[in-house]
Subunit: 198 residues, 2 copies
DNA sequence: CTCAGTTCGTACCGATCAGTTCGATGATGT
DNA sequence: ACATCATCGAACTGATCGGTACGAACTGAG
């Protein structure tokens, strides 16, 4: 009774395993590009199990996106933290890390961006909106530490660069998007010094 | 013989009419969100006609996207041209026009961005890539007229802001994305003066 | 061992989809 | 008036989809 040690076969583990295995498939094939049947086969689980855990395909998609959002956010935050205390260095590290991502052969754009463009479903849009919220918070925090006159405005400008770079990398300039975004971000930093305006 | 004056019922006109009528439906419902049957019914044309003109649903989609790309490019170029000769004013006018677009109730993101995220089909990706090419050319031209030290680099930075703003407007901050992008763009302009670097 | 709950595999359901076919209809050019 | 061709409308095909149902196999606890 102190701890039932999970029930039979650890539902928590099963659920997480399904999410982890389904995520890359949904990412590379698109949300509508793979059916539930093939998805289950590749994950190594029966349809009944999937439907009991997630209720519906959209439920699975939502869970996958939420997990991915948290993973990606932690990854970006980690890259910034590993760059030290200088906000300028942190920003540079974030865009360098993004560029490294763009050049991975499996890169197919941001999963949240793609999902929101594919599924007009309310729940999916909400996950993407929350994801952008988290990312904005992260960038605004850097803007604050950089001593920006208007950290909120600078944070939102940086968000445009990050999302724009990811989109352009996916569809137009995989090799240079992160680099140009980094240059722009670093140029915006001094432009937002307190003495700069008014 | 001097000019056959078109054949019977003007195939050119019919084709253009199908494209014009199908475009908003594909835009608001998504490429996979509406079937060929309903599409034809709403357009007011039979499936046979559509398939004779475009061969396949993807063919129709490609034609719709190409038409839209040209229309949008001309629209943006017109907004810049109408703002006079000052590159700074042109840039401001472009982002103001974008912000006006974001606030239209029918705004659902950039059709090319959405299409590329939905259809991994080669032809669709190519249309989106060409679209971004045109847009980059337009922005680079403004950067050149602004006397940027590296017009290509500045053009690509501006492209990130335009695409980022459109994406963020669609999924996160419809009211402010264009405004923040404009501020960032105007801040990047002086930062790219020839005296600024090296 | 026994019982209960989980999972699997497979078959099935109703709906929808892209694309084809075909006879009826209408307009065009001669 | 006649022949031609685009178009329509509607039926049809074969495939795929999300979701459900069910018996068999497996797992764990008492």
């Amino acid at each position: 009774m102190p701890v039932p040690k999970g029930s039979t076969i650890d539902p928590e583990r099963t659920r997480a395993g399904i999410i982890d295995a389904a995520a890359p498939l949904l990412y590379e094939r698109g949300l509508d590009g793979i059916g539930v049947a093939e998805l289950c086969a590749r994950v190594g689980v029966s349809k009944e199990t999937v439907y009991r855990y997630f209720g519906t395909k959209d439920g699975l998609i939502q869970a996958v996106l939420e997990a991915r959002s948290e993973r990606v956010t932690a990854w970006i935050a980690g890259a910034a933290a590993a760059a030290g205390d200088d906000p300028r260095e942190q920003l540079a590290a974030v865009f360098d890390e993004l560029q490294r991502w763009y050049e991975e052969p499996t890169f197919r754009g941001c999963a949240m961006q793609n999902a929101a463009a594919q599924h007009q479903v309310e729940a999916v849009q909400a996950v993407t909106a929350r994801h952008l919220d988290r990312r904005l918070g992260l960038l605004t925090a850097i803007a604050e530490r950089a001593g920006a006159a208007d950290p909120d405005a600078l944070g939102r400008q940086l968000l445009l660069l990050v999302e724009g770079a990811t989109l352009v990398a996916a569809h137009h300039d995989r090799a240079g998007a992160g680099h140009h975004a980094k240059q722009a971000a670093l140029a915006l930093l001094p432009a937002n010094r307190p003495s700069g305006r008014r």
